[in-house]
Symmetry: C2
Subunit: 121 residues, 2 copies
Amino acid sequence: MFDAATLKYDGNGLIPAIAQDHRNGEVLMMAWMNAESVARTLESGKVTYWSRSRQSFWVKGESSGHVQKLVEMRVDCDRDCLLVLVEQVGPACHTNRRSCFYTAIREGAEVEIMQPQNPND
Amino acid sequence: MFDAATLKYDGNGLIPAIAQDHRNGEVLMMAWMNAESVARTLESGKVTYWSRSRQSFWVKGESSGHVQKLVEMRVDCDRDCLLVLVEQVGPACHTNRRSCFYTAIREGAEVEIMQPQNPND
Protein backbone atom coordinates (compact mmCIF):
# COMPACT_ATOMS: atom_id res chain seq x y z
CA MET A 1 0.00 0.00 0.00
CA PHE A 2 1.12 3.53 -0.73
CA ASP A 3 2.23 5.44 2.34
CA ALA A 4 2.49 9.23 2.05
CA ALA A 5 5.26 9.15 4.67
CA THR A 6 7.58 7.50 2.13
CA LEU A 7 7.73 10.66 0.00
CA LYS A 8 10.56 13.15 0.45
CA TYR A 9 9.50 16.41 2.02
CA ASP A 10 11.52 19.58 2.34
CA GLY A 11 12.67 21.16 5.61
CA ASN A 12 9.14 22.46 6.16
CA GLY A 13 7.59 19.04 5.59
CA LEU A 14 6.28 20.04 2.16
CA ILE A 15 6.39 18.59 -1.35
CA PRO A 16 5.54 20.50 -4.54
CA ALA A 17 2.44 19.30 -6.39
CA ILE A 18 1.84 20.20 -10.03
CA ALA A 19 -1.81 20.20 -11.09
CA GLN A 20 -2.45 19.22 -14.69
CA ASP A 21 -5.77 19.14 -16.55
CA HIS A 22 -6.27 15.45 -17.32
CA ARG A 23 -8.21 16.20 -20.50
CA ASN A 24 -5.80 18.40 -22.43
CA GLY A 25 -2.54 18.29 -20.47
CA GLU A 26 -2.62 21.97 -19.54
CA VAL A 27 -0.48 22.73 -16.49
CA LEU A 28 -2.82 24.66 -14.20
CA MET A 29 -0.85 25.53 -11.09
CA MET A 30 1.77 24.42 -8.61
CA ALA A 31 1.18 24.37 -4.88
CA TRP A 32 2.44 22.48 -1.85
CA MET A 33 1.30 19.48 0.14
CA ASN A 34 2.38 17.94 3.38
CA ALA A 35 1.98 14.23 4.14
CA GLU A 36 -1.48 14.73 5.56
CA SER A 37 -2.54 16.73 2.46
CA VAL A 38 -1.39 13.86 0.28
CA ALA A 39 -3.36 11.37 2.34
CA ARG A 40 -6.47 13.56 2.40
CA THR A 41 -6.28 14.12 -1.36
CA LEU A 42 -6.13 10.39 -2.01
CA GLU A 43 -8.87 9.58 0.49
CA SER A 44 -11.31 12.33 -0.46
CA GLY A 45 -10.61 12.65 -4.17
CA LYS A 46 -10.53 16.43 -3.62
CA VAL A 47 -7.11 17.96 -4.21
CA THR A 48 -6.01 19.36 -0.86
CA TYR A 49 -2.90 21.50 -0.55
CA TRP A 50 -1.15 23.02 2.44
CA SER A 51 -1.39 26.80 2.41
CA ARG A 52 1.99 28.19 3.43
CA SER A 53 0.57 31.69 3.94
CA ARG A 54 -2.37 30.56 6.07
CA GLN A 55 -0.58 27.54 7.56
CA SER A 56 -3.66 25.41 7.10
CA PHE A 57 -5.12 22.78 4.83
CA TRP A 58 -6.47 24.19 1.60
CA VAL A 59 -9.14 22.15 -0.10
CA LYS A 60 -8.81 23.70 -3.55
CA GLY A 61 -12.06 25.42 -4.52
CA GLU A 62 -13.68 25.00 -1.12
CA SER A 63 -14.64 28.68 -1.02
CA SER A 64 -14.57 29.55 -4.74
CA GLY A 65 -16.22 26.39 -6.02
CA HIS A 66 -13.31 25.90 -8.41
CA VAL A 67 -12.55 22.43 -7.13
CA GLN A 68 -10.02 19.98 -8.45
CA LYS A 69 -11.32 16.44 -8.58
CA LEU A 70 -8.42 14.02 -8.43
CA VAL A 71 -8.09 11.78 -11.45
CA GLU A 72 -4.65 10.36 -10.65
CA MET A 73 -1.68 11.17 -8.47
CA ARG A 74 1.82 10.44 -9.75
CA VAL A 75 5.18 10.49 -7.96
CA ASP A 76 8.46 11.40 -9.61
CA CYS A 77 11.66 9.33 -9.68
CA ASP A 78 13.16 11.13 -6.70
CA ARG A 79 9.89 10.96 -4.75
CA ASP A 80 10.18 14.68 -4.05
CA CYS A 81 7.57 16.03 -6.47
CA LEU A 82 3.96 15.12 -7.26
CA LEU A 83 1.90 15.44 -10.40
CA VAL A 84 -1.85 15.49 -9.85
CA LEU A 85 -4.05 14.95 -12.86
CA VAL A 86 -7.30 16.72 -12.17
CA GLU A 87 -10.73 17.54 -13.43
CA GLN A 88 -10.73 21.30 -12.92
CA VAL A 89 -14.04 23.05 -12.32
CA GLY A 90 -13.83 26.67 -13.52
CA PRO A 91 -10.53 28.55 -13.51
CA ALA A 92 -7.63 27.20 -11.45
CA CYS A 93 -6.04 30.60 -10.86
CA HIS A 94 -7.28 33.09 -8.29
CA THR A 95 -7.17 35.71 -11.09
CA ASN A 96 -9.95 33.72 -12.81
CA ARG A 97 -7.63 32.54 -15.52
CA ARG A 98 -7.73 28.89 -16.46
CA SER A 99 -4.06 28.44 -15.51
CA CYS A 100 -1.70 30.38 -13.25
CA PHE A 101 0.93 30.31 -16.03
CA TYR A 102 -0.58 33.10 -18.11
CA THR A 103 2.57 35.18 -18.51
CA ALA A 104 5.06 34.21 -21.21
CA ILE A 105 8.53 35.60 -21.76
CA ARG A 106 8.71 36.45 -25.44
CA GLU A 107 11.62 38.32 -27.00
CA GLY A 108 12.74 39.39 -23.56
CA ALA A 109 9.38 40.84 -22.49
CA GLU A 110 6.48 39.61 -20.39
CA VAL A 111 3.37 38.94 -22.45
CA GLU A 112 -0.04 38.05 -21.04
CA ILE A 113 -1.28 35.10 -23.08
CA MET A 114 -4.51 34.24 -21.27
CA GLN A 115 -7.47 36.36 -20.26
CA PRO A 116 -9.57 36.02 -17.11
CA GLN A 117 -12.69 34.02 -17.81
CA ASN A 118 -16.18 34.22 -16.43
CA PRO A 119 -15.73 32.37 -13.14
CA ASN A 120 -19.00 30.53 -13.75
CA ASP A 121 -17.83 29.09 -17.07
CA MET B 1 12.45 43.90 -20.51
CA PHE B 2 12.13 40.79 -18.38
CA ASP B 3 14.47 40.73 -15.43
CA ALA B 4 15.03 37.37 -13.69
CA ALA B 5 15.64 39.24 -10.42
CA THR B 6 11.92 40.15 -10.30
CA LEU B 7 10.91 36.53 -9.69
CA LYS B 8 10.35 35.25 -6.18
CA TYR B 9 13.00 32.83 -4.98
CA ASP B 10 12.95 30.71 -1.86
CA GLY B 11 15.36 31.00 1.06
CA ASN B 12 18.01 29.23 -1.00
CA GLY B 13 17.56 31.60 -3.95
CA LEU B 14 15.73 28.95 -5.98
CA ILE B 15 12.49 28.75 -7.94
CA PRO B 16 10.85 25.51 -9.11
CA ALA B 17 10.72 24.99 -12.87
CA ILE B 18 8.32 22.51 -14.45
CA ALA B 19 9.43 21.16 -17.82
CA GLN B 20 6.62 20.31 -20.23
CA ASP B 21 6.89 18.77 -23.70
CA HIS B 22 5.64 21.53 -26.00
CA ARG B 23 4.31 19.04 -28.53
CA ASN B 24 1.99 16.89 -26.43
CA GLY B 25 1.80 18.63 -23.05
CA GLU B 26 3.48 15.80 -21.16
CA VAL B 27 4.98 16.97 -17.87
CA LEU B 28 8.55 15.70 -17.99
CA MET B 29 10.23 16.76 -14.75
CA MET B 30 10.54 19.43 -12.12
CA ALA B 31 13.86 20.92 -11.08
CA TRP B 32 15.16 24.18 -9.66
CA MET B 33 16.64 27.36 -11.06
CA ASN B 34 18.30 30.36 -9.51
CA ALA B 35 18.20 33.81 -11.12
CA GLU B 36 21.35 33.12 -13.12
CA SER B 37 19.91 29.80 -14.38
CA VAL B 38 16.81 31.63 -15.57
CA ALA B 39 18.93 34.21 -17.39
CA ARG B 40 21.20 31.57 -18.94
CA THR B 41 18.19 29.52 -20.08
CA LEU B 42 16.67 32.52 -21.82
CA GLU B 43 19.96 33.62 -23.36
CA SER B 44 21.18 30.22 -24.54
CA GLY B 45 17.87 28.52 -25.34
CA LYS B 46 19.22 25.49 -23.44
CA VAL B 47 17.29 24.75 -20.27
CA THR B 48 19.73 25.23 -17.41
CA TYR B 49 18.85 24.27 -13.86
CA TRP B 50 20.69 24.64 -10.58
CA SER B 51 21.71 21.30 -9.17
CA ARG B 52 21.06 21.35 -5.44
CA SER B 53 23.08 18.17 -4.88
CA ARG B 54 26.10 19.34 -6.84
CA GLN B 55 25.61 23.06 -6.09
CA SER B 56 26.37 23.94 -9.68
CA PHE B 57 24.67 24.91 -12.92
CA TRP B 58 23.16 21.98 -14.70
CA VAL B 59 22.70 22.37 -18.44
CA LYS B 60 20.13 19.63 -18.89
CA GLY B 61 21.51 16.91 -21.18
CA GLU B 62 25.03 18.33 -21.28
CA SER B 63 26.52 14.94 -20.43
CA SER B 64 23.70 12.61 -21.53
CA GLY B 65 22.78 14.41 -24.73
CA HIS B 66 19.18 14.53 -23.56
CA VAL B 67 18.94 18.27 -23.93
CA GLN B 68 15.91 20.46 -23.47
CA LYS B 69 15.62 23.16 -26.08
CA LEU B 70 13.60 26.04 -24.71
CA VAL B 71 10.44 26.78 -26.65
CA GLU B 72 8.89 29.20 -24.16
CA MET B 73 9.25 30.16 -20.51
CA ARG B 74 6.16 31.10 -18.51
CA VAL B 75 5.81 32.65 -15.06
CA ASP B 76 2.93 31.96 -12.69
CA CYS B 77 0.65 34.52 -11.03
CA ASP B 78 2.69 34.60 -7.83
CA ARG B 79 5.98 34.78 -9.76
CA ASP B 80 7.30 31.91 -7.65
CA CYS B 81 7.09 29.07 -10.16
CA LEU B 82 8.17 28.63 -13.77
CA LEU B 83 6.82 26.50 -16.59
CA VAL B 84 9.30 25.78 -19.37
CA LEU B 85 7.91 24.40 -22.60
CA VAL B 86 10.65 22.36 -24.19
CA GLU B 87 11.67 20.28 -27.11
CA GLN B 88 13.02 17.23 -25.28
CA VAL B 89 15.70 15.15 -26.98
CA GLY B 90 15.53 11.54 -25.74
CA PRO B 91 14.22 10.71 -22.28
CA ALA B 92 13.98 13.48 -19.68
CA CYS B 93 14.44 11.17 -16.70
CA HIS B 94 17.79 9.80 -15.57
CA THR B 95 16.13 6.36 -15.51
CA ASN B 96 15.73 6.66 -19.30
CA ARG B 97 12.01 7.09 -19.05
CA ARG B 98 10.41 9.83 -21.06
CA SER B 99 9.10 11.54 -17.90
CA CYS B 100 10.12 11.40 -14.24
CA PHE B 101 6.45 10.93 -13.29
CA TYR B 102 6.26 7.25 -14.17
CA THR B 103 4.75 6.03 -10.90
CA ALA B 104 1.01 6.32 -10.41
CA ILE B 105 -0.96 5.73 -7.23
CA ARG B 106 -3.83 3.45 -8.21
CA GLU B 107 -6.19 1.88 -5.72
CA GLY B 108 -3.74 2.71 -2.95
CA ALA B 109 -0.73 1.06 -4.58
CA GLU B 110 2.22 2.33 -6.62
CA VAL B 111 2.06 1.26 -10.25
CA GLU B 112 4.81 1.80 -12.82
CA ILE B 113 3.11 3.19 -15.90
CA MET B 114 6.11 3.91 -18.14
CA GLN B 115 9.05 1.77 -19.20
CA PRO B 116 12.62 2.92 -19.77
CA GLN B 117 13.24 3.60 -23.42
CA ASN B 118 16.27 3.16 -25.59
CA PRO B 119 18.22 6.31 -24.68
CA ASN B 120 19.02 6.82 -28.35
CA ASP B 121 15.39 6.94 -29.36
